[in-house]
């Protein structure tokens, strides 16, 4: 063995590494609980937010523009005449879409069937996000004047309405060992929905549908901020596979663009 090399037994290496890790954990624990003080409660979802979603956001209507900006044509079986071929509907859903009649919805007072959680973020308009309390984000829309409550922890909302019951959780990157949270997403799972439409032209979702969303905030160098919403609708009643969409909003400085309007079935 060359004189400059020292034989290092594996046991010594492991001992040193374990000691180091234990010290790190101890220091980290002290950071959270204080030096010998009582353990601190975990931060509230509001305090632990890895990003600020609050404020006014306006839809940038690009994705599926022709089905969102203007009333989509009634579903027909001939694709060239305006049918949605890209929503994975099953046969039963097709029957319902073919029979869609907005007048009937109006007569039944159900103009908001396309404003339920699975489609509300696709409606051109603005959303306003605030913290209702430390555990709940409130998301309001001016189009259709809808309100979604995104509850961290166990949902208190029994659901059954257009916006169903939503549970929220932060999915963060980083943040270990007392380090800074680098970024994260807001994951929202919504169920207990009142049956409605995935689109204004009567393509249905059922009460068994589940909506899973991820909200991500993107800040551009230079100022603009965007909210990117990635959505999946699972519906064993009307869909043959999960229906995937992504939608984006641009941050607005104030409420000057906020124009509440009622639901419209057309």
């Amino acid at each position: 063995m060359p004189p400059t090399m020292t034989k290092c037994k594996p046991t010594r290496l492991l001992l040193a590494l374990a000691l180091f890790m234990t010290l790190c954990m101890s220091a980290n624990a002290q950071g959270r609980g204080g030096r010998g003080g009582p353990p601190q409660p975990p931060p509230t979802p509001k305090a632990a937010a890895p990003m600020d979603l609050t404020g006014y956001w306006v839809a940038v209507v690009v994705e599926d523009w022709r089905y969102r900006m203007l009333p989509p044509a009634k579903f027909v079986e001939t694709p060239l005449l305006g049918a949605r071929v890209d929503i994975p509907m099953n046969t039963e859903a097709r029957k319902i879409a073919l029979a869609w009649d907005p007048a009937k919805d109006e007569a039944a007072g159900e103009q908001c069937k396309a404003y339920g959680a699975p489609n509300i973020m696709r409606i051109p308009g603005r959303v306003h996000i605030t913290w209702q309390d430390d555990q709940t984000l409130k998301l309001e829309t001016d189009a259709g004047t809808q309100t979604r409550l995104l509850e961290f922890g166990a949902a208190k909302n029994p659901g059954g309405g257009w916006q169903g019951a939503s549970t929220a959780a932060w999915e963060v990157a980083g943040g270990g060992r007392g380090g800074p949270v680098l970024s994260g997403s807001l994951k929202i799972v919504t169920s207990k929905l009142k049956p409605g439409y995935l689109q204004k032209n009567g393509i249905p979702y059922s009460a068994n549908a589940t909506l899973t969303e991820f909200f991500d905030r993107v800040d551009e160098q230079g100022g603009a901020s965007y909210l990117v919403v990635t959505s999946t609708v699972d519906d064993p009643v009307y869909l043959t596979e999960p229906y995937l969409t992504s939608t984006h909003f641009k941050k607005e400085a104030d409420a000057s663009g906020w124009k509440p309007s009622p639901c419209s079935s057309r």
């Binding site: 492991l14 001992l15 690009v62 963060v172």
Partner: protein, 625 residues
């Protein structure tokens, strides 16, 4: 051993307790955020109709096209795809994500430090190979070549991979002719949620867009690596016996499919024409006044705004320095002194194509000395224009042509009549078409600036520095003395001002330039070029001014010149005066890329040159359709 085992278990427990997002090594330890490695495909539930080569004609809603972008799209016909250079054209970014095939990410890491060097991508459709550099390197200068995937750098911002891409080629935003220019910058953010990858892109294109075009799309991870990764393409003869200067397009206001999409979807035409306002929620309300919407739409299908200037970045740094760019093989491009200079080096003396404007000749000589241990032996002038010949005397004097001493010429010197040959060993030999000599002598320029070594007909060739160098005469293009120079082994062509990425062709009608000669010259060049893969690479082209280019870039320029010729001709044939042609803004879809309202070569001067050239030739004989 028991202690070691116990400690191992303890260490394992400590590590595992920190395994899922709790152990923050920070973004720089491994140099990455989330791992996107693997194979993916477009999850096409939304925007499914916009996949590759799809998209209805005149369906631009939700795209913030400006006037130039809208008019360019309206002039496009699917028949353009029959052109050789369009058949295998690659896909730009972000359009490539719409490919119906799969794509793959894989990482390249330093084997010793494990730092992330690059993330590579391979798109099956169009076989696009893309590198996203993660090592902090800078983007190339503006005079470097462009490609369909462009030049990309990436960084992690939290768990988001943010990619910035420049040096893109002119391509599509949508497969219906909606254009994206070679001046576009694209920013992508890749956000991964399990097996779903949301790609959020911003396209910033000052040439064709009113405002940044933001868009999201979902991609799905493949469970199994797909077997098919190839998509070979080779262009062929799709339309037989078609004249080379036939470029399919629609004249302004004449698109026969203008209303197809709008009518089929029951929407006003104004909505289908796109523009920044169509992205905003309040747009639908504007359509309630159908008469006003129709009136506005009709105004948008023809040029209606003021003439625009180019919004392209000037590729010449204009910093008083000579910038050297390796092209390929033995050839370099020198930028900074007026026209571009091509330099071919090897065992023999350097051969230059053009000598620049002459303001920085000392620095040109210095730059060539760094490339070649031998002196400058030949300078080929592509034209007599001063931005290409201004440096002839000074650079020529710094060189020498060793083929002359002891030769017939050496024996003849000195003579009073040919003072240029008094000491032939100490001057590079200047070469050009004979009309260059004639024009320069007529301008009474000093002898040492004038090429004495001239040719008269189609071609001059010289085997030099290990390759055949061919000089081809291009009659009546920019002037009546234009040449292009082809380096056969290096596979590089220097075009002079026949191709200029910074402006409309500088047609010098007074000195023999013609629009038809220009179009013929561009087509002649395309007869000599080939691409390496899907219209990227292959034969590289050094333009008279502007950035390094290739076949596709030149073909887009050829298309532009030909289309403008057709528009001017159509108006002239119907009896329009020059003023009426100018008022018609026949270049409106190209002005934000090439136009100028002031300076030495304005848009109006170009249109006037085209008009006069056609008039001189007799409008009826210029179009060979």
């Amino acid at each position: 051993m028991k202690i070691a085992k116990a400690l191992t278990l303890l260490l394992g427990a400590v590590l595992s307790s920190n395994a899922f997002g709790q152990f923050n090594f920070g973004p720089t330890a491994a140099g990455s955020g989330i791992d996107v490695s693997g194979t993916w495909h477009y999850g096409g539930h939304q925007d499914a109709a916009y996949g590759t080569a799809a998209g209805a004609l005149v369906d631009y809603g939700g795209i913030p096209l400006n006037e130039a972008g809208r008019l360019s799209a309206l002039a496009w016909t699917a028949s353009r795809m029959t052109l050789r250079q369009q058949q295998c054209a690659g896909y730009g970014i972000p359009y490539a994500y719409f490919s119906p095939g799969n794509y793959r990410f894989w990482e390249e890491r330093d084997p010793y430090t494990q730092k992330l060097i690059a993330i590579h991508m391979w798109f099956q459709t169009s076989e696009t190979r893309r590198t996203i550099w993660m090592d902090g390197r800078s983007h190339p200068p503006a005079y470097a070549a462009h490609t369909f995937p462009g030049f990309s750098t990436g960084e992690w911002r939290g768990n988001v991979l943010t990619i910035t891409t420049t040096h893109l080629k002119r391509a599509w935003l949508r497969g219906n002719g909606t254009p994206s220019s070679d001046e576009a910058t694209v920013i992508e953010r890749l956000i991964r949620h399990g097996d779903r990858l949301t790609v959020f892109t911003t396209t910033i294109d000052p040439v064709f867009l009113d405002e940044p075009y933001t868009k999201t799309m979902i991609n799905l991870r493949n469970i199994k690596d797909p077997d098919a990764w190839l998509y070979a393409c080779e262009d062929g003869e799709e339309i037989l016996s078609r004249s080379e200067d036939t470029i399919p397009h629609y004249l302004f206001g004449k698109n026969p499919f203008l209303r197809d999409f709008a009518d089929r979807n029951g929407m006003p035409l104004l909505a289908a024409l796109g523009g920044g306002e169509t992205l905003h929620p309040g747009f639908a309300a504007k359509l309630t006044d159908s008469a006003a919407a129709e009136k506005e739409a009709m105004a948008k299908i023809v040029p209606s705004g003021p003439q625009q200037n180019s919004r392209a970045v000037n590729p010449d740094p204009n910093d008083g320095e000579i910038h050297v760019l390796k092209v390929q093989g033995n050839v370099y491009m020198l930028v900074g002194d007026g026209g571009n200079i091509a330099v071919e080096v090897g065992d023999q003396g350097a051969l230059l194509v053009d000598a620049g404007a002459g303001k920085l000749s000392d620095k040109v000589v210095e730059a060539v000395r760094k490339l070649s241990r031998n002196p400058i032996q030949f300078i080929v002038n592509t034209s007599f224009h001063p931005d290409h010949t201004g440096g002839n005397a000074k650079i020529g004097a710094a060189g020498e042509d060793p083929s002359l001493p002891g030769s017939f010429f050496g024996g003849q010197a000195p003579t009073g009549a040919t003072g240029f040959f008094e000491d032939p060993a100490h001057h590079a030999t200047l070469i050009g078409h004979n009309n260059v000599l004639v024009r320069m002598e007529a301008a009474k320029l000093p002898n040492e600036m004038i090429p004495p070594d001239t040719y008269l007909e189609k071609r001059r060739k010289k085997y030099h520095n290990g390759e055949l160098v061919e000089i081809f005469y291009q009659p009546n293009a920019i002037t009546d003395g234009d040449s292009i120079v082809q380096f056969r082994r290096s596979d590089v062509i220097a075009t002079g001002d026949i191709f200029d990425t910074t402006r409309y062709p500088f047609l010098d009608v007074k000195n023999g330039g013609t629009i038809q000669g220009e179009i013929d010259a561009l087509n002649n060049i395309l007869e000599k070029t080939g691409y390496e893969h899907d219209e990227d690479g292959g034969t590289m082209i050094i333009p008279g001014h502007g950035r390094l280019s290739d076949e596709y870039d030149l073909s887009e320029y050829r298309d532009m010149v030909t289309i403008i010729r057709d528009r001017v001709k159509a108006m002239a044939d119907s009896g329009a005066t020059l003023d009426q042609v100018l008022a018609g803004r026949v270049t409106a879809d190209y002005d934000t890329r090439y136009g100028a309202t002031s300076g030495p070569w304005t848009t109006n001067a170009f249109v006037e040159a085209v008009y006069n050239s056609l008039k001189q030739a007799g409008a009826s004989s210029t179009n060979r359709k």
